[in-house]
């Protein structure tokens, strides 16, 4: 007999070892998320995927599914809080969408569209963050980093290179690379590495691939992130 959880009134089956996020994704249900990517070990830092389980808020990407869980996901209160978190991510960095190559393909932007973000709401921090163009094939623009550690996980767990890491703490947290010089060009990162492909924003971009698809015809110009990530109308 299969086990089930209830998400927003729907019965969703799960297998032992799956998280709430896994079960939802398998059932084609969308829970907004940024740091989660089913190819990697769950991280739980962005907190956009927070759901309410039997009265308590938890990150669905790290919480194991268990019989008896009544999960609230697509409700106004949680979506308002997710919107606030998304706005926080926008103001703590420097996200200038019109000038960003990732615009239209950016998950941060996709989530912001989905949640109906019409303004940053909070005052911008305008932090001074470093751009690293030292690598011949890859650009690292820390202005757009949201500390999801997908590149860290990909480089460590898939590429076996440990190119990325985080240092400092709190609002001063920053992405660092595995080189004495601190420069991406002095690391072993290759454009074909998984780590160079997984950034949900435009913090890591493969060079010389600019504007292959014109703005206006990109993923989130045509589809919602919900459709894309649940396979609803994937390209």
């Amino acid at each position: 007999m299969s086990k089930n959880i209830i998400i927003d009134g729907l019965t969703v089956p799960f297998q032992e070892g799956q998280t709430i996020m896994d079960a939802a994704m398998a059932a084609g249900l969308y829970i907004p998320h940024l740091c989660h990517n089913p190819e990697f070990k769950p991280h739980g830092s962005c907190k956009l995927c927070t759901v309410n389980v039997n009265g308590r808020n938890v990150a669905s990407c790290t919480m194991p599914a268990a019989e008896g869980q009544q999960v609230l996901n697509d409700i106004a209160e949680l979506n308002a809080e997710r919107l606030a978190l998304t706005q926080m991510l926008f103001v703590e960095g420097n996200h200038l969408c019109p000038a960003c190559e990732k615009s239209g393909n950016c998950n941060l932007q996709g989530v912001a569209y989905y949640l109906g973000m019409m303004s940053p709401h909070y005052n911008h921090f305008y932090p001074a963050r470093e751009v690293d163009a030292s690598h011949p094939d890859i650009l690292l623009d820390r202005n757009r980093c949201i500390y999801c550690e997908l590149c860290v996980r990909a480089s460590r767990d898939v590429d076996g290179k440990n190119v990325f890491g985080l240092t400092d703490r709190g609002i001063m947290t920053r992405l660092i690379v595995n080189a004495t010089s601190g420069l991406l060009g002095d690391t072993s990162l290759a454009a074909t590495d998984k780590a160079a492909q997984v950034c949900p924003t435009g913090a890591l971009l493969v060079k010389r691939k600019g504007f292959a698809v014109p703005i206006g015809s990109r993923i989130f110009d045509r589809h919602t992130i919900k459709d894309v990530q649940t396979g609803g109308s994937h390209e």
Binding site: E81, A84, L85, T167, T180
Partner: protein, 609 residues
């Protein structure tokens, strides 16, 4: 500043690395020694250390950047860090720090041009009963005043090594003002363990259960439950049980002495004068859960206690109370290792503490799994507060019923309170649970008390209307901090101090806490500078809600408490600060034109708003 050649680095590192061996869990301990030797963590040293432990460079740099007492940029040869708790501030910390800076010709937060000295603030150093306090190269300075700073100035200018400074500068007193069951009657070392060996481990767990002892770190989880979960858990790898050297399933006992909550200093006193009681409790725990290794995680601010504690451990080993075959019991092996923290409040959170013990950034883990099943290096681990272990030792000796007879039904036993602020006799007070705030205020000689911060910034601020409330898990739960404020104090300034503390101590892992604590700080700063409006209050409330409901751990979920308490209980404290205008610019418009006026050399009416 001194420049380091690579060969110097290598020469400096070789003995340190040799002493710590090759296990990467020693990384933080190594970095602390490097910081001591070089007044920074040089980039070349990071390469060297990474190669030694065979870990990526980013991991070492990540740890070096995480902890406040480590620094990848040089700090002064003499590094003065003033304790920034509100109680230090009330005792004149800001003026004293400025006084020292003026005398030494150095700006706060910067290093003097000759690299000799740097002066900065740090989070509470746990000396609130004898502030204003500071640390010089990690060693605590207490009861600072201008005279003492004059002397310190001379010592720094004459480049006198800190070890040769007059001992009176470093005098730390216990200030035990009220003793009860825990502090009143000293334990004969070994009596608790003897009782366990006579009674049996299972029977001791039953006594712990009967005592209804709850964790003294504030959360109040029942200790017997934690111990029995840990005892029931087994770590497996590829189908086989991971065992210790004696063939028993590997488990760990960890004592959380990362007493970072501003206003708390009871663990300092327990470790200074009752360390045997604490070690005894850890050993009792080890016997009950079946652990052979224990750690004491000592906050960096209490580094001065390291050598005395090591000596205490050695004495216990010699007395057969630690090591192999404890008190002659064959197969009962347990030893304790002390691990130093390095200035990170978050490491008081048990899973962050375990990460730090493993030599990593102190980032709270995703739970489940919980440490009782997957703790240190993935093994079942009990993490308990210093005071909890002290209680456990007493319960082992005297039994659960003796303990349960004290306090209230839901909060048995006694509680150590660290009392500071506006009172005649700050210090340690031990009370049976259930004591009223009013009683405590009378006993400590509080002067015209108006508000009390119970359990530090993450706890609750209560007003004079609530002084009949009780210290107990069912009313006012507390880890021990009790800061008294008299009427003339401004609740807004108190909340402002705490808000800065949380923003500084957020680990930065999750969005709500990383950004939310910073937003909270910015808004409070804006109100403090006279630009606050009514909408800022709404913003603070909504931020508070997000912090409480969306954060990864207790730091984030309690970070809004000071602000929300102030808004609820002391509304006039912030209303006074607000502009009465319907519209108030978020910054000083006229001030913003100052640069333009300077450039154009104008100062006429039209150049002003």
């Amino acid at each position: 500043m001194q420049q380091f050649e690579f060969s110097d680095i290598s020469r400096m590192l070789t003995p340190i690395l040799a002493r710590h061996g090759g296990d990467a869990s020693r990384l933080l301990q190594v970095l602390l020694e490097v910081q001591d030797a070089c007044h920074t963590i040089p980039s070349e040293a990071i390469d060297h250390i990474a190669a030694h432990f065979d870990v990526p460079r980013v991991n070492v740099e990540g740890v070096a950047g995480f902890y406040s007492f480590l620094s990848t940029r040089p700090v002064g040869e003499y590094r003065m860090l003033f304790s920034g708790n509100i109680t230090d501030q009330m005792l004149g910390k800001d003026d004293l720090m400025q006084y020292l800076c003026n005398k030494l010709w150095v700006e706060p937060g910067k290093v003097s041009e000759d690299g000799l000295v740097s002066v900065d603030s740090t989070s509470c150093t746990g000396m609130c009963d004898q502030g204003p306090a500071a640390l010089v190269n990690g060693w605590p300075l207490t009861s600072l005043d201008q005279n003492r700073l004059d002397l310190i100035c001379e010592l720094i200018r004459s480049r006198k090594p800190v070890a040769e400074w007059p001992p009176m500068l470093f005098e730390v007193v216990d200030n035990i003002r009220r003793s009860d069951a825990l502090l009143g009657e000293p334990l004969v070392p070994g009596n608790g363990i003897r009782a366990v060996l006579t009674r049996g481990a299972k029977e001791t767990l039953a006594e712990m259960d009967k005592s209804n002892l709850r964790g003294r770190g504030g959360a109040g989880f029942k200790t017997a439950s934690k111990w029995s979960f840990c005892h029931a858990a087994i770590a497996e790898e590829e189908g086989s049980v991971i065992c210790d050297i004696n063939g028993h399933p590997e488990r760990y006992i960890v004592c959380n002495a990362d007493e970072g909550e501003p206003g708390t200093f009871k663990d300092r006193v327990l470790l200074n004068s009752y360390a045997d009681l604490v070690f005894e409790g850890m050993t009792v725990g080890a016997r009950v859960v079946g652990a052979s290794k224990g750690f004491l995680y000592l906050r960096g601010e209490y580094r001065y206690l390291l050598e005395p504690l090591e000596k205490g451990l050695q004495k216990r080993r010699e007395a057969g109370l630690l090591g192999d075959n404890i008190l002659g019991k064959a197969g009962f092996s347990f030893d304790i290792e002390i691990h130093l923290g390095a200035g990170a409040y978050i490491c008081g959170e048990e899973s962050a503490l375990i990460e730090s013990l493993e030599g990593k950034r102190g980032r709270p883990r995703n739970r489940p799994p919980f440490p009782v099943t997957h703790g240190y290096k993935g093994r079942p681990t009990v993490v308990d507060n210093v005071e909890t272990f002290a209680c456990a030792a007493k319960i082992a000796e005297k039994g659960g019923a003796w303990f349960a007879a004290m306090g209230t039904a839901q909060s048995t036993g006694t509680k150590l309170l660290s009392i500071s602020g506006d009172c005649a006799s700050p210090g340690i007070y031990e009370y049976p649970f259930g004591v009223t705030v009013r009683q405590i205020l009378a006993d400590c000689g509080a002067r015209d008390p108006y508000a009390v911060q119970v359990s530090g910034p993450s706890g609750a601020m209560i007003s004079w209307k609530e002084f009949d409330r009780k210290i107990a898990f069912e009313d006012l739960p507390t880890a021990g901090a009790f800061m008294v404020f008299q009427r003339k104090r401004d609740p807004f300034q108190i909340a402002l101090n705490f808000v800065h503390f949380f923003a500084h101590e957020s680990c930065g892992f999750c969005t709500p806490c990383r950004v939310g604590t910073e937003l909270q700080k910015k808004i409070m700063d804006k109100i403090a500078s006279g630009h606050g409006t009514a909408s800022d209050l709404e913003e603070l409330k909504s931020l508070g809600h997000i912090l409480k409901t969306m954060s990864h751990c207790g730091l984030g979920s309690s970070a809004a408490n000071p602000v929300l308490d102030m808004l609820e209980k002391f509304p006039d404290a912030y209303e006074r600060k607000l502009k009465e205008l319907a519209f108030e610019p978020a910054f000083d418009l006229d001030g913003a034109l100052e640069t333009a006026r300077k450039i154009t050399g104008r100062d006429d009416d039209w150049a002003h708003l």
